[in-house]
């Protein structure tokens, strides 16, 4: 939880897509947040599943980056709950994990994740993946339905 996230969440900065970044490892979370903001995204952070659910409801992000190995509530459970809540169900969830063993990605998809990215993942690669999802036609529709306007990506 950062003050920056709170301030950006309150002060809607126009058409910048909002990303909810969930990761319990502060260095990685901050690195991605910094780079995402540098790349033109508005970033909201959470460090466990429970917090992620709160932030998702509060801030209605355009996309959620979800680390799976989390304290308090893990990423799988958090994703299942997000997809079960009609307020947050349309938001695409990208699973982000350092575990590359087989079966992880299957479990993530079962829980409701829309995409899967293996760490280590360079910040620019992550941004590419996010833009790919947000630019997809169904994502645009979701965005339009939710905010009433078309969100245009930057870069």
């Amino acid at each position: 939880m950062t003050t920056k996230a709170d301030s950006t969440g309150d002060a809607k900065k126009g058409d910048r897509p909002r990303v909810l970044l969930v990761d319990d490892y502060p260095d990685a979370r901050e690195m991605y947040a910094e780079y995402l903001e540098f790349s033109g995204f508005e970033v909201v952070e959470a460090e466990n599943g429970m917090e992620a659910l709160q932030r998702a409801v509060e801030t209605s992000p355009d996309i959620i980056l979800m680390d799976l190995s989390l304290p308090v509530m893990d990423g799988w459970e958090a994703t299942r709950r997000l997809k079960a809540d009609k307020r947050t169900a349309p938001i695409p969830v990208v699973a982000l994990t350092g575990h590359a063993l087989a079966g992880i990605s299957e479990g993530a998809k079962k829980a409701g994740c829309d995409a899967f990215v293996t760490k280590p993942c360079l910040p620019e690669d992550l941004v590419k993946e996010i833009r790919k999802i947000l630019d997809a036609p169904d994502a645009a529709n979701r965005k339009a339905r939710r905010s009433g306007k078309y969100a245009k990506s930057i870069g």
């Binding site: 260095d27 990685a28 910094e34 079966g103 760490k119 620019e124």
Partner: protein, 763 residues
């Protein structure tokens, strides 16, 4: 013919078929000499009184008159009493229906009445007589009172006692006196009529006529002493020939039957009432007899004995007779032939039986002899000595092997003689024991000596007693069995068994040892497996823990290089570049360790899809483009046209190709690298080759490079980086995809790595 005779019912016939001999004799005579011409008008010489009486009878009784005429005619030419009597009795039978009758006459000067004629009674009736001295005989009262008497059937013992003894026995009969009425003389004869014949006026007529005729003959002939004797003898003769059980016949020169006794009659006569079978038998017997008696036959053989085969009319059986025929010369009646038939059937049968028995006996004897010979052969062929001893203990039979033990051979030395004597003594004592014991069978061991070598010869003796029908001991049979071989075998067997047991013990010990070692190995294998699983898990965990900080490091470096935090000076940028490349190298190492761990842990699933090779090769080349640019090597692609697509795991094929190409780039300093792809239609595979012009690999090392953590240069200052896991992973991945990787190389002349994959992918 014989068959039909056999079918003839024999029961109840004999009494009917054996007519009384006297009647039969007369019948034969009548047949020969027809007595009367029924309708003829023969000159009448009878008594005029009778004739008047006949004329006085009414026309209605013409039949009765005819009958009287027949009797009178019958008497005409008869000059002998017997003849007259027969005519009279026959008439009584035919006209008055009196079937049984006897006529007795007392010759003058005789004290008895003798039978002169009889009818319908057994042949014994001819020998019946009545003495005048037998005063108590009721029959005499008939004569004394000149009055007929009826003797009814007796109803009690007293009745029977009062009755006279006659051939009628218990049958009722009339006794009628014969004599001329009105004469003072007493009656000279007696007529006994069977059954309850009525004393009709016709009988009175008959009696008077018959009496007159008899009286006439008696008076005319005035019987001489010789005649009387003849009468007696004749009666006796009839009795005698009928009493003979052999058939006796008198025939004339033409073979016609004159006299036959009762036995002969059963063979040669039959009435119309007899059965067809019986009559056929009789006809045949007559034919056989005629031919045997033909004058020619007699002339040829003389009065000798001949055999005659006849059929028994009673039961159809064969009868064999000995026929004795003698020609008799009778000046009055001409010559005839007397034949006596002696039944030799039983004799013949007995003789045949004796012959048969004798033959059987000879066969049995031959069989017994053959049996005995065979037994001897068998006994001699038995290798074991066999001795048969009689009840007294003396040897009665022994076979050859026994002889070798118990008889002293010719020219035997003193020691050899002693051996045999010793054997004999031992055996005798065994037999003696057997003889006194009650055992039926005895088995024992006798210590004999081999009579040829003197070697000890223990034998097993099996003795059995042979008993007669009366359970008396007749012999003892002893079989001796040489035990030497058996003992030797037992010894060998014991040794063999010991060796076998020893071997078994050793095998068991070895087996137990092996089992123990197997168990140890199994435990070690489990431990190793567990250790390997732990290692894999540990490596997987560690690689995750390594990647998390590495992620941050690489991320920040990348950001700095991109100028996220502001512009940077070129030297700094170069330094950041070093950090980044080393970080990437570290990441590669971690990823490779992770791959090996996944493969070993079996957690590397395949994701099969269509793989287009040109596209894949392009991607691989593009991914390594920065390195290619730096190396200044020429990269050549030789892809066969219309290559088939693979059905395989795209990610893994790509990983293998990346590895092969990066290796080629790493170990090649001059020249170039060629990537070739071609399909092998024969075994439906695709071959992807990466050839370089690099340093090459010695043939001795070409297999080692596929082992884990293997780099040919293991020195700390080695020229090439890398974990040494790349090719090991490639080979394992290729195997997972049912393919293989091979290498061809020559030191200093480059290497060619070839990946062969099936077009269809995994089976």
């Amino acid at each position: 013919m014989r068959k039909s005779l056999l079918k003839t019912p024999p029961s109840g016939l004999s009494s009917r078929l054996a007519p009384p001999a006297a009647a039969a004799l007369v019948a034969v005579g009548a047949a020969r000499r027809p007595a009367t011409k029924r309708n003829g008008s023969a000159p009448y010489t009878g008594v005029p009184r009778v004739r008047v009486a006949v004329e006085e009878t009414s026309t209605e009784e013409a039949e009765q008159r005819g009958a009287r005429v027949r009797l009178l005619e019958g008497f005409v030419s008869r000059a002998e009493i017997a003849d007259c009597a027969q005519v009279a009795l026959q008439w009584l039978r035919d006209v008055a229906g009196i079937k049984q009758s006897i006529c007795l006459i007392r010759p003058s000067g005789e004290g008895s009445l003798f039978v002169v004629g009889a009818q319908g009674l057994g042949s014994a009736s001819m020998s019946f007589s009545l003495s005048l001295e037998d005063w108590n005989n009721p029959l005499l009262s008939v004569l004394n009172h000149r009055k007929e008497i009826f003797f009814p059937e007796p109803h009690s013992a007293a009745d029977r006692k009062r009755r006279p003894a006659t051939p009628f026995e218990d049958e009722p009969f009339h006794a009628v006196p014969l004599g001329v009425t009105g004469f003072s003389e007493e009656p000279f004869g007696l007529l006994l009529l069977g059954d309850s014949a009525p004393t009709s006026p016709e009988l009175h007529w008959f009696t008077s006529v018959f009496s007159q005729k008899l009286d006439q003959i008696l008076r005319q002939e005035a019987l001489t002493e010789g005649d009387r004797r003849q009468g007696r003898e004749r009666s006796l003769l009839y009795s005698i020939i009928n009493a003979v059980s052999d058939p006796i016949l008198l025939t004339d020169t033409e073979g016609r039957l004159l006299i036959a006794n009762s036995r002969a009659l059963t063979l040669f006569t039959a009435t119309e009432e007899e059965s067809e079978g019986r009559r056929s038998a009789v006809r045949m017997n007559n034919m056989l007899l005629s031919s045997a008696l033909s004058s020619k036959a007699i002339e040829e053989t003389g009065a000798t004995r001949r055999e005659l085969l006849l059929v028994n009319p009673i039961d159809g059986s064969d009868l064999v007779f000995e026929l004795l025929s003698t020609v008799t010369e009778d000046p009055r009646q001409g010559s005839g032939v007397v034949s006596i038939l002696r039944n030799v059937t039983d004799l013949r049968r007995a003789s045949e039986e004796i012959e048969e028995n004798y033959r059987k006996m000879r066969v049995a004897e031959a069989q017994a002899r053959a049996e005995s010979d065979r037994l001897n052969l068998i006994i001699d062929s038995v290798a074991d000595p066999i001795v048969v001893t009689d009840a007294g203990g003396a040897t009665s039979l022994m076979n050859e092997p026994a002889e070798r033990l118990f008889t002293i051979p010719k020219g035997a030395s003193a020691i050899e003689q002693r051996w045999v004597q010793s054997n004999d003594a031992h055996f005798s004592s065994f037999i003696a024991g057997m003889l006194v014991s009650a055992d039926q069978r005895r088995v024992g061991e006798i210590g004999l000596v081999d009579a040829r070598t003197g070697e000890a010869m223990p034998v097993e003796a099996i003795a059995g007693k042979i008993l007669s029908e009366h359970s008396e001991l007749t012999a003892v049979v002893t079989i001796l069995h040489d035990r030497r071989e058996a003992i030797e075998k037992a010894k060998l067997y014991e040794q063999l068994k010991q060796a076998s047991d020893e071997l078994e013990r050793k095998i068991q010990a070895a087996t137990a040892d092996i089992a123990q070692q197997n168990e140890l190995l199994r435990r070690q294998a489990i431990e190793l497996e567990q250790a390997s699983a732990l290692k894999s898990q540990f490596l997987a965990n560690m690689s995750h823990e390594f990647r998390t900080p590495l992620n941050a490091m690489l991320g920040y470096t990348s950001m700095l290089l991109q100028g996220v935090g502001g512009a940077i000076e070129p030297p700094v940028k170069r330094q950041l570049g070093r950090i980044e490349s080393n970080g990437r190298h570290l990441l590669t190492i971690i990823n490779e360790i992770l791959d090996i761990s996944r493969i070993e842990a079996g957690r590397m699933p395949l994701q099969l899809s269509k793989v287009r090779i040109p596209e894949l090769v392009g991607e691989v080349k593009a991914e390594l483009e920065p390195i290619i640019m730096r190396s200044k090597l020429t990269i050549t692609l030789t892809l066969q046209k219309d290559l088939p697509s693979l059905y395989s795991d795209r990610q893994k094929v790509k990983q293998i190709l990346l590895n092969l190409l990066s290796n080629a780039l790493k170990f090649t300093h001059h020249g170039g690298v060629t990537i070739t792809a071609r399909a092998e239609k024969r075994d439906r595979t695709v071959q992807l080759s990466v050839s370089d012009t690099g340093i090459g690999i010695a043939s001795a090392d070409q297999e080692k490079i596929f082992e884990d953590f293997r780099q040919l240069d293991n020195s700390p200052t080695r020229a090439y980086g890398g974990t040494g896991l790349g090719l090991s992973i490639c080979r394992r991945l290729a195997q997972m995809l049912d393919g293989r990787i091979s290498v061809q190389s020559q030191m200093g002349h480059g290497s060619t790595f070839t990946l062969t994959l099936p077009i269809k992918g995994r089976r």
